[in-house]
Amino acid sequence: MTTLELLSAYADERFTRAATRRDSGQPVVGYVGADVPRELIEAAGFLPLRLAPTVVGSSAEADAILGPGVDEATRLVLAGILEGRYPIDALVLCHDSEHTVRLYTSLRALARLEPARPLPPLHFFDLLHLPRATTAAYNLARIGELAGQLSAWAGRSIADPQIGEAIALANQNRRLVTRLDALRREGRVTGVRFLGAVAAGTAMPAAEHNELLTRVLAGPLSPLAEPVRRVFMLGSAHPSPVVYDALESQGALVVGEDHSWGAPLADGLVDETQSPLEGLSERYHRGSAVALAHDPAGRAARAAREAVAAGADVCVAWLRKGDEALAWRLPGERAALSSSGLPLVVLRHQALRVDAQASRELVEAVLQR
């Protein structure tokens, strides 16, 4: 098995792997949303575990609690939490989207209504994104609170040097993922493998992930067959590679994306010359592509730039049911892309689970234009 295949396999069974670590004595803090600073969780001595949907069992209760206005991925995460399927000791949620906010507020209400229900201890990290000093000040206080809560869970204070060390490892991780992304653009790594590598990194310590990525980058990575289309993905996040696989199994290559389970996750280093909490606050507030997702015009411009840089010849806005807010971006994205000469294929109301028909429609829309 190649290291890339190993990373994909790890991603596929990440919650089982995390459970094994937890059983061996490693405490785990789960988190939902890309705004949660993993490095702070690691500095506190926990394994940070980003929650993603598992498709085992029914989500009927979660669907009823959250309602159809929340996307299926989040409802499945709630179902997993309610059934205790994630091996976590505590859970941090953030304000990266309304879906995550509603997940938090529902869990909080359930914990109050049903105190006997086994739910993890919760913390809400209310990081906000307007590009103003008022928001920056608010965020800095919130990150201090998060550090305090993690310290309380850990039973010890988290010192600046520990946070600094975790930041350094996380920054190195971002550099390595970015280099892997460059290899993808060169046609040496598939989008499926790239997503798998990124997902694996959300479920293991940064140092371990760095070692594996370094091994991948040491090569050799042979060029892939010339793709029939080079696709850049916009729109909903992809916690699993199933949509990428539908395209790449038909000869396409997904060369980039602007969602928070892909390359944007590695964008933007934490400034290590600042105090750790200030550096983290700034990076997560405005200093990354994920943060930029909250700025519609900025996001559209960045997506166009990255799509061109990745050598894409088509962009796909794939919007899951429940992610209708993203549809408001489409005119801006279309305008930014058209000035770069890139066509945009829009697929709305998509399901999380891509069945055979959805796969055919996707391929037809993207590859057979």
Partner: protein, 419 residues
């Protein structure tokens, strides 16, 4: 049934006449160069009023478009420009109306030119909609953050007027107060007008007075059976003055409404003399068909005695004490929580249902609502049956009148009458 419903109260009719006249005058002022703000319902309008800057409430204009059956057309105009016509319609219809090229089709002569769009980011769509105003009409925007506090205050409605610092939370208040100062600076720069502190304090005092009258009206309706009026009257009677909050007219309109309710109660007048069932409508008003609410009176003696509009005026707006700008932040930093946050809203709806003697609830679910499940659950656990309806309050395209009437009738027969 009549889409407008049958209105009985003079105060409701007078409010609507006032609003028309005000709007006509506003159109002339804007045509003469007056800068006009379009603001979301939960944006702090008092700041504009203190600076003599007129504003239109985004969702009020959407309700007018819906009432005039224009919302589908405006949503279609958005769709033609590549925007979704099936998400956040209530907040987006105004933008659609601004794309209207045929003013003869526009309600009340159409939306005047907007100089600034002000919003609070309580859904993922709000910032996108603000960006769309800029892209389509060159309208700059100012957005307030919608911060989430981690506390769940008990019975917030008993404490919010005076202990707002504790109920809302210092962090949120610090943030919104700072944002208010930024907004004021922006407005001063844009318009050349100055924020008048003395006028502002007078506006806050008038707004508090206005809501006290609403509170008296709400309390009287709650304890009077049969109810002297239904929500077809109370909604316009309270909401039009709400958009003129902080004026003497607004305060006086709220007092006139109370006086009329009191006179009707004293005289034994009733929306439905044969009242047998008291119903509660949770959710936004069905602007394109207010007559719907009166449909169930004849057959069942079922009266919608409660909507959130009068109740939130009574419980959600009053703020006393403290630094004035901070007290304004306290009015709005948690506003969406009162109506739609699990742990905040559900207890309030139960309290209101009990105080009004409500026997059944029709709960309009919107995709943006954070608390629908918890609200329905709290009411059902309190012994009050709930019918959930999944529909959009401003977009009539998917409204199936016969189906919804049938559902409510079956609900009344099976779960309310049989209690």
């Amino acid at each position: 049934m009549s889409a407008r419903g049958v209105r009985r109260l003079e105060s409701a009719a007078e409010a609507l006449r006032y609003q028309r006249a005000w709007f006509a005058e506003l159109q002339q002022e804007v045509a003469g160069g007056m800068p006009l703000v379009l603001a979301d319902a939960d944006a702090p309008h008092e700041v504009f009023r203190a600076m003599g800057i007129p504003y239109i409430v985004n969702q009020w204009w959407a309700s007018i478009c819906a009432a005039k059956q224009c919302a589908p057309r405006y949503l279609g105009l958005l769709r033609d420009r590549g925007y979704p016509d099936d998400f956040d319609q209530y907040s987006a219809i105004s933008l659609g109306s601004a794309l209207e090229s045929d003013l003869a089709q526009a309600p009340w002569g159409g939306l005047p030119d907007i100089a600034l769009f002000v919003t609070q980011l309580w859904t993922d769509g709000h910032r996108q909609i603000a960006e769309a105003w800029n892209r389509e009409r060159g309208v700059p925007t100012f957005a307030f953050e919608k911060a989430v506090d981690t506390s769940l205050p008990e019975r917030w409605w008993e404490h919010i007027a005076d202990d707002w610092e504790e109920v809302v939370g210092t962090a949120r208040l610090d943030l919104m107060t700072a944002e208010l100062r930024e907004l004021i600076a922006l407005l001063e720069s844009m318009t050349g007008r100055t924020f008048d502190e003395e006028r502002f304090e007078a506006i806050l005092a008038l707004a508090n007075e206005q809501q006290e009258w609403s509170r008296k009206a709400r309390d009287l309706i709650a304890c009077t059976a049969p109810a002297p009026l239904d929500i077809v009257d109370s909604i316009p009677a309270v909401m039009v003055p709400q958009w003129h909050r902080g004026t003497e007219w607004g305060r006086d309109a709220a007092r006139r409404f109370y006086d009329e309710v009191a006179a009707a109660a004293a005289g034994g007048e009733a929306a439905c003399p044969d009242e047998r069932i008291r119903l509660m409508w949770i959710g936004r008003g069905l602007w394109f068909n207010l007559g719907f609410y009166q449909h169930f009176q004849e057959r069942y003696g079922a009266v919608f005695v409660w909507s959130m509009y009068l109740a939130i005026a009574a419980d959600g707006y009053r703020r006393y004490g403290g630094e004035p700008l901070r007290s304004l932040a306290a009015r709005f930093a948690a506003f969406a929580d009162f109506l739609g946050m699990p742990g905040w809203a559900d207890g309030w709806y139960v309290k209101e249902a009990r105080s009004h003697g409500v026997q059944g609830v029709v709960h309009l679910i919107s995709p943006e609502s954070r608390s629908s499940y918890f609200t329905t659950r709290a009411l059902e656990e309190a012994g009050i049956p709930v019918l959930e309806i999944d529909a959009n309050n401003a977009d009539a395209r998917t409204w199936d009148e016969a189906a919804f009437v049938g559902r409510i009738e079956r609900f009344i027969e099976a779960r309310v009458v049989q209690r």
